[in-house]
């Protein structure tokens, strides 16, 4: 007999997970949007709301300031700014959400790159009164650079432009054209008022002309698994499991999280960088033998041949194994306070492999707002985006980031103290015509004094 509770539990456990990021400044109403998503989906509990109301009153505000829900650190509350990426959790009957809420001002690029790196979707906010501004183009560029599969343009404060369709349509058209030129595969534009609640969770009563989904409806229905069958399988080996027990004298399993694609028993595979080949004999999916597994499952794989495999190796289908290289060209976002310079000796961490490397060249620095190139900057400082050429001491099985976010990304680390210096994305940054489109779009500068 199934009780109502059990049905409820079963329904809850069958939901999928969506990771998304929000981008925009306080002025665009980002905190209000986040607060409303949390509040209207009933994810803010009574004691949290009481704490926010209390804190808002202490700060002399009449209405609860929903931004205080996300500003977790003392310094943030004291200064009224968001310093760091905050992760928020909420759920509906259809899906569980992990929201990376990135601050609009301090260390903006670094934080948005961090939030976008694991996001399947990015919400870019614009103020309907201002339209697409330089900051919007930066947000679109970060989403494109990090290859976030889905982008939502939320045109906020529609209540302040009389809910006028032409205002929304013109902003949406401009943004979509720009995002597509950068190679963003999908943009959904939604007219909202976060303050009033139009089209955030509930459909708006003021915009009959809009027939699309609300922000939450879109978040609930956007596909989270995309074209896995078309991506070649990648299994970076994390750990070799060898019980050497009486029960399992010869068990030798290669444990890892499938970074992309689908892996099947019987697949002919190559282990990189050694190039040795074998066949997948068995896949253990955390206690259960399976014949097929896919990203991002954690599995243990056994091979039919007794070959040398250790942490840092990559298991890939022989038919579609990546090239192995010691010369890496990449677009990077510099995240450390100390600069990255030509000739610097670093560690390069790629999947489960960390190797010594040297920065051979920094051919250019990129301005995010118009994607203009500044050749030979000599160094990159915090929040710079640039191109780098790195030579590694040992070969890497590296994909282009455009093909695989997980196996095309890497970190550069300072060997002296372990500081994370730079986040790297192997291969070409944007679609071919991106820079041309960006320069055309940036024709009229609207500098707000933000310097990257």
């Amino acid at each position: 007999m199934t009780t109502a509770t059990e049905q409820f539990a079963e329904q809850l456990s069958a939901t999928t997970l969506l990771r998304f990021a929000t981008a925009g400044s306080v002025d665009d109403g980002k905190s209000t949007l986040v607060g409303r998503l949390l509040h209207d989906s009933k994810s803010v509990l009574t004691d949290q709301l009481e704490a926010v109301e209390h804190a808002s009153r202490t700060r002399g505000k009449d209405a609860p300031d929903l931004a205080l829900l996300t500003d977790g650190l003392r310094a943030e509350r004291e200064q009224g700014i968001t310093i760091d990426v905050a992760y928020r959790y909420f759920a509906t009957g259809r899906r569980r959400f992990i929201l990376a809420d990135t601050p609009g001002h301090v260390q903006y690029t670094r934080n948005m790159v961090t939030g976008a790196s694991t996001a399947e979707l990015a919400v870019v906010l614009v103020d309907a009164r201002n339209g697409v501004v330089e900051q919007t183009r930066r947000h679109a560029a970060v989403a494109a650079l990090l290859r976030v599969p889905h982008v939502v343009l939320a045109v906020n404060k529609m209540d302040l432009v009389d809910y006028a369709e032409p205002v929304f349509a013109s902003i949406a058209t401009e943004f979509i054209a720009y995002a597509e030129s950068l190679g963003v595969p999908e943009v959904t534009a939604i007219p909202i008022s976060a303050l009033v609640g139009d089209n955030v969770v509930e459909p708006s009563a003021h915009m009959d002309w809009y027939g699309g989904p609300t922000v939450l409806e879109h978040l609930e229905t956007v596909p989270v698994s995309h074209d896995l069958a078309d991506c070649p399988a990648r299994l970076p080996v994390q750990y070799v499991i060898r019980p050497q027990s009486a029960e399992h004298p010869d068990y030798r399993g290669y444990a890892g999280q499938i970074a992309s694609g689908v892996l099947r028993v019987g697949d002919a595979v190559t282990v990189l960088p050694s190039g040795r080949t074998s066949t997948v004999e068995a896949i253990d999916a955390l206690g259960q033998g399976v014949s097929v597994a896919w990203a991002p499952q954690s599995v243990t794989v056994r091979l039919s041949d007794d070959i040398d495999v250790s942490r840092g190796d990559l298991i890939a289908p022989t038919a579609s194994a990546p090239d192995v290289t010691r010369d890496v060209e990449a677009t990077v976002c510099h995240v450390a306070d100390r600069p990255l310079t030509v000739g610097q000796r670093v560690l390069l961490k790629h999947t489960t492999r960390t190797v010594k490397a040297i920065v051979k060249d920094i051919p250019s620095r990129l301005t995010l707002a118009d994607l203009s190139q500044h050749p030979e900057p000599g160094e990159l400082v915090a929040n710079d985006i640039g191109r780098v050429v790195v030579r590694t001491a040992e070969p890497l099985a590296l994909d282009a980031y455009a093909d695989s976010r997980r196996t095309g990304s890497f970190l550069l680390i300072d060997p002296a103290d372990g500081t994370t210096l730079t986040a790297g994305m192997a291969g070409t940054a944007f679609a071919e015509n991106a820079q041309h489109a960006a320069e055309a779009a940036a024709g009229a500068p609207d500098d707000e004094g933000w310097d990257f």
Binding site: R110, Q297, D417
Partner: protein, 312 residues
């Protein structure tokens, strides 16, 4: 250890989708394996409570059929629930693990630590914890903290670097990108690792139900002698309650968190089974810590301050 990796029969994401529990499980297992691959002496903070039982379960799965390559560490405040301590010891024995216990009571008896006027021993855990980490040379310390618990925790990394005093500096955190965790640290420093960062209380309970993970019985509704202090139902006992004017009564309660008896409150509940607990949490209007932790009510930044000083 029952089934895993069931695909989700949801049109938009079929066939290659994972349920949110499978996705969270996979992420946590990945974190355990990264630590096993990169650190010399990892240890799991283990109280016998639900989050530490969940961590242990995930670690067992991550390395099966080999044993878990970590030992366990518990900071015993001296005011822990006896039922939970017994459960802790049974679990350690069942899986043939090694448990280190750092005792707050021993520090108090030796005069190294002094009892606080309010009687809570939670902040007193920092020194025994740090000294044991130092003396055992643990370089990675798994904690069951979740970002949904508290807003300072929402800002902490999965790999959280701590100095030789265990201190956390939120402004000097390393950006954490993709699934690339940077665990490099200097001698004397260690890394706190939070494999449950992205889980919510509801996820934890759903997963416990799915995997049939054993828990101490005090998580389920039972009759208990409690008294009310500042709106929280505390268990009477040798730790110092009730005081004059506080009267003991018998109520049907359960615990949502299990910590020091002096500051962990029970909630009124009739939820005696896992399903009933899940239903209760899904409709709860208070957060786990808000409902049950007196120490977090001290100030807006109580947790941040404790973390900076080396707390979990």
């Amino acid at each position: 250890m029952t089934s895993t990796a069931r695909s989700v029969d949801e049109g938009i994401d079929a066939p290659y989708a994972l349920s949110h529990l499978d996705a969270l499980e996979s992420e946590a297992v990945h974190i355990f394996r990264e630590v096993a691959g990169e650190f010399e002496r990892p240890v799991i903070l283990f109280s016998g409570g639900k989050d530490s039982m969940l961590m242990l379960h995930l670690a067992l799965k991550a390395f099966a059929p080999a044993p878990v390559p970590f030992s366990l560490l518990h900071v015993d405040t001296g005011h822990n629930f006896p039922e939970v301590l017994e459960f802790r010891d049974r679990t350690v024995e069942r899986y043939g693990l090694r448990l280190h216990v750092a005792s707050v009571q021993e520090y108090i008896d030796a005069g190294t630590l002094r009892e606080r006027p309010d009687g809570t021993r939670n902040p007193l855990q920092i020194v025994p914890l740090t000294e044991r980490i130092q003396s055992e040379r643990f370089d990675a310390v798994f904690g069951g903290g979740r970002r949904d618990e508290e807003k300072a925790r929402a800002k902490e990394r999965v790999f959280s670097l701590r100095d030789e005093f265990s201190q956390w500096d939120p402004r000097r955190q390393r950006p954490e990108l993709w699934q690339l965790y940077n665990g490099r640290h200097a001698p004397g420093e260690h890394v706190r690792v939070f494999p449950l960062s992205n889980w919510t209380e509801l996820d934890v309970w759903q997963y416990i139900a799915r995997e049939r993970i054993d828990l101490p019985e005090i998580y389920f509704a039972h009759e208990r002698e409690v008294f009310n202090r500042k709106g929280m139902w505390l268990t009477a006992g040798g730790w110092g309650g009730p005081k004059d004017g506080e009267s003991v009564e018998k109520r049907s309660v359960r615990y949502r968190t299990v910590g020091d008896m002096s500051c962990t409150g029970a909630v009124d509940s009739d939820a005696a089974t896992l399903d009933a607990v899940i239903a209760e949490i899904a409709t709860a209007r208070l957060t786990e810590r808000g409902a049950t932790r007196a120490d977090d009510k001290l100030s807006e930044a109580a947790m941040e301050d404790r973390k900076r000083e080396g707390y979990f």
